[in-house]
């Protein structure tokens, strides 16, 4: 069920109320049953796939801990193969098969391997990675194997973060299921505040911007340069608001019950470099890749060419994690290229910054980073590489037409699917969002806000609720990251 649905609202109220009503030692059971219900509300039969990987990893964890020497590694490999295998079948099988067909066609051969018509289980990439982090940490000795099957199952299935993260670590989450959390007024209101903000970002900003993005990106040939640029910028904010909105709701829902989930987004578009961007965007995933892939490959403790290769591999895999399409791989590769380029040109850029005192103008770095990120998002959103290439070329080649139209006092802003005033409203919302982020850099808004008198806080709450009711787009749009 979607977080922005009535069904979830009822579910959340019932589960949270029951959570505080049941004895502490039964809470894990309530949460596990609720999480099963939550997952099965999407596609019921896929609970068996989740169950399969839970059973494998539960026993793998115990066997790894009990075993010695090479057997420990064997059990880990078995667990990782099982998890990646499930992911590969459901997510990548047809993609691999398609490319295999293409390769064979080059030799005049046909592919005998059939395609499978499988629906991707919701959140597969997320809970698979979370499960893998468990067995890896047990192997590394950083986490004791969980003996309680129910608690381990809950670690994988905990409903607030089951379908789109944050991808948690066992050291952070597992022990929390045994702790007793009493009802705490400040913690609960803080969680509700975060959920309200997350819902605002999703239904007011993300889903509104999605109207323009879908209109333009579904038929880019019909749109001029300006429309393509607007749609790209809008997508940049749509994906942020959609994903961070979901994360906020997940973290807020967990916080209400007492659970601390990791922060997943930290004002990413205020980053002054692409490297900084990756410490602020989808933090749980980027830290997962850093800890389990990048460091395993050797990180930066290798020769320089190998270091660059490690970075590139991590981002290629990250791209692939997002989806079985070359567009995601190109997106990942672009980011890998950005980082490598930044490292290679670091000294040169520092000299230029010093020469022109650019350090005193952080806005230039923020803007440049934003442009680079937005450019990469074109590949993330486009249906195909060809479509992305068309969009990029049209953005630039269409500029002379735009200028001519402006000179001829002709209309340059096309119908982008929004109602009257919709474009202006969207821009105001983006400006509002980034203003909040900018202020958050200077001050802890949360702390300042909670210190305000109740009437000011309630005015803000009512304002957000009113904005959601009046400006919210309620068209059953799924969260973007649910498809991963």
């Amino acid at each position: 069920m979607l977080f922005n649905s009535f069904h979830f609202l009822v579910f959340f109220i019932v589960v949270t109320s029951l959570y505080f009503a049941v004895p502490h030692n039964k809470r894990w059971l309530l949460l596990l049953i609720s999480s099963c219900y939550f997952y099965m509300a999407l596609v019921p039969i896929y609970i068996f796939i989740l169950g399969f990987t839970i059973v494998i990893d539960y026993f793998a964890g115990i066997f790894i801990e009990n075993a010695v020497g090479q057997r420990r590694k064997l059990f880990l490999i078995f667990s990782l193969v099982a998890n990646i295998g499930v992911l590969a079948i459901f997510k990548y099988y047809n993609f691999i098969n398609e490319n295999f067909s293409f390769l064979l066609q080059g030799f005049g051969l046909t592919n005998p391997i059939p395609y499978l018509s499988l629906l991707l289980p919701i959140g597969l990439s997320f809970h698979t990675f979370q499960a893998m982090s468990y067995t890896i940490e047990v192997y590394r000795g950083n986490q004791k194997a969980e003996r309680h099957f129910g608690i381990y199952s809950l670690y994988v299935m905990f409903y607030p973060q089951l379908v789109a993260g944050p991808i948690e670590r066992p050291q952070n989450l597992l022990h929390q299921f045994r702790e007793k959390f009493d009802f705490d007024y400040d913690r609960v209101t803080s969680g509700l505040r975060l959920m309200l903000w997350g819902l605002f970002k999703k239904v007011v900003i993300a889903d509104r911007l999605a109207i323009v993005v879908d209109t333009v990106y579904n038929n880019p040939e019909q749109y001029n340069s300006l429309s393509l640029i607007i749609a790209t910028v809008f997508f940049t904010f749509q994906i942020f608001c959609d994903f961070s909105g979901y994360s906020d709701m997940a973290i807020g829902a967990a916080r209400i019950m007492g659970f601390k989930l990791m922060t997943n987004f930290d004002k990413p578009y205020q980053s002054k470099s692409v490297q900084e961007f990756w410490t602020r965007w989808h933090i749980s995933l980027s830290s997962w890749f850093r800890d389990y892939l990048y460091i395993t490959l050797g990180g930066n403790r290798v020769t320089i060419p190998r270091w660059y290769l490690n970075i590139f591999i991590v981002f290629l895999v990250s791209g692939l994690w997002h989806g079985a399409n070359w567009t995601f791989i190109v997106w990942g590769a672009l980011h890998g290229f950005y980082l490598i380029f930044a490292i290679v040109t670091k000294n040169f850029r520092e000299r230029v910054n010093k020469l022109f005192h650019l350090n005193k103008l952080p806005l230039i770095s923020v803007f440049t980073t934003f442009v680079l990120i937005a450019f990469a998002w074109i590949f993330f959103r486009a249906k195909s590489i060809a479509s992305a290439n068309y969009i990029i070329s049209r953005m630039f080649t269409g500029i002379p037409d735009l200028i001519n139209n402006l000179k001829g006092h002709q209309r340059v802003i096309q119908d982008l699917g929004l109602k009257e005033g919709g474009l202006l409203l969207s821009l105001i919302l983006i400006l509002f969002l980034e203003t909040v982020h900018y202020v958050q850099i200077k001050k802890n808004i949360s702390e300042v806000f909670t210190q305000q008198p109740v009437y000011i806080r309630w005015v803000v709450y009512y304002g957000l609720v009113l904005a959601i009711l009046v400006l919210g787009v309620f068209e059953d749009r799924q969260f973007i990251y649910f498809q991963f």
């Binding site: 009535f6 505080f20 209101t189 400006l471 309620f474």
Partner: protein, 315 residues
């Protein structure tokens, strides 16, 4: 926890109270608004403004094809077109029941009997037309059978406007007197002044085997109930199968089965059946804007003939 519950109730109460107060206000505004002819027609039904001697029932084919202006001038009656776009008999029947609840019983009913009348529709088409009237039991009973609106729209205040904020805006504008000019239909009739479009030929290519229109047993049962009611109340029924383009007619492969149902009712209950599906109007695309709908040229030709044919039956 008590502090939290108390503050929650305090916070949420104004929202609920305002929602309960706003909903009838918005519903009322929407009923007054001209943003769709559907609201005006439903409003006329509920406000007993019709009270016609002759009503015409059917879907969009009736709505676009049969003009009360022609009928009124030839038959010297007050007629009204109750046709409702996209719906087979189930919704037509409910519209009729609601009409009866608020208006005087008609003397005559022209009932469209075409390939889709006795089929079943799952999706609620043009659901916004029902939104301000969801407080009516018959409307709720009708729409719940379709996918589109459900108990949340019926019972949670303002929930139905969450997906339809522009309707709420239109309602507020209407309440403030800023209504858009009424550009509506004459007594439910909606003329379409368009030329033949070629998408029909694409439809033929995509569906070389044609369509089988499955008869819905609920629709058949309601049709039966409707006929018996009309007979009991002394309402004269006339079945009409308005013209459709002859190639579109060929696509409905079980049309003869469907026609035999209407024919059997016609013979059993002595109901006149005017079937124009093989009329000369059907042969020329000049008369149509789509495979199944007449344009204004076709409507003129058809209504001239239909009014005269009806005159022989009614008088």
């Amino acid at each position: 926890m008590r502090k939290f519950l108390f503050k929650s109730i305090l916070f949420l109460s104004p929202i609920f109270v305002l929602s309960f107060m706003l909903q009838p206000f918005i519903d009322d505004g929407l009923k007054q608004s001209n943003c769709s002819p559907n609201f005006i027609e439903w409003n006329d039904i509920f406000q007993s403004k019709i009270n016609a001697d002759l009503i015409i029932q059917g879907n969009s084919r009736v709505r676009n094809h049969i003009s009360p202006k022609y009928l009124d001038s030839v038959l010297k009656l007050n007629s009204y077109n109750l046709g409702i776009d996209a719906y087979p008999f189930h919704m037509q029947y409910y519209r009729f029941l609601i009409y009866l609840q608020h208006n005087k019983k008609p003397k005559y009913i022209i009932q469209a009997t075409d390939f889709s009348t006795l089929t079943r529709r799952t999706e609620l088409f043009g659901y916004d037309q029902f939104i301000p009237f969801l407080d009516d039991k018959l409307i709720r009973e009708a729409v719940i059978k379709y996918d589109g609106l459900d108990y949340r729209d019926f019972y949670i205040p303002l929930y139905k406007y969450l997906r339809n904020q522009e309707l709420a805006l239109a309602a507020f504008k209407a309440k403030k007197g800023h209504n858009i000019p009424y550009n509506g239909n004459y007594k439910g009739f909606q003329a379409v002044d368009r030329k033949w479009n070629t998408t029909f030929h694409t439809l033929i290519k995509k569906n070389p085997d044609g369509f089988v229109n499955e008869i819905d047993t609920t629709a058949l049962r309601l049709f039966d109930t409707f006929i018996i009611y009309c007979l009991k109340e002394g309402i004269q029924l006339v079945f009409v199968n308005t013209p459709i383009y002859y190639e579109a007619n060929k696509m409905h492969v079980n049309q003869h089965c469907i026609d035999s149902i209407y024919l059997s009712y016609s013979q059993k209950y002595k109901i006149p059946f005017l079937d124009y599906s093989n009329d000369s109007i059907c042969l020329d695309t000049l008369n149509f804007f789509s495979g199944t709908h007449l344009n204004s040229i076709g409507v003129n030709k058809f209504n001239n003939q239909f009014a005269e044919d009806l005159k022989k039956i009614i008088h």
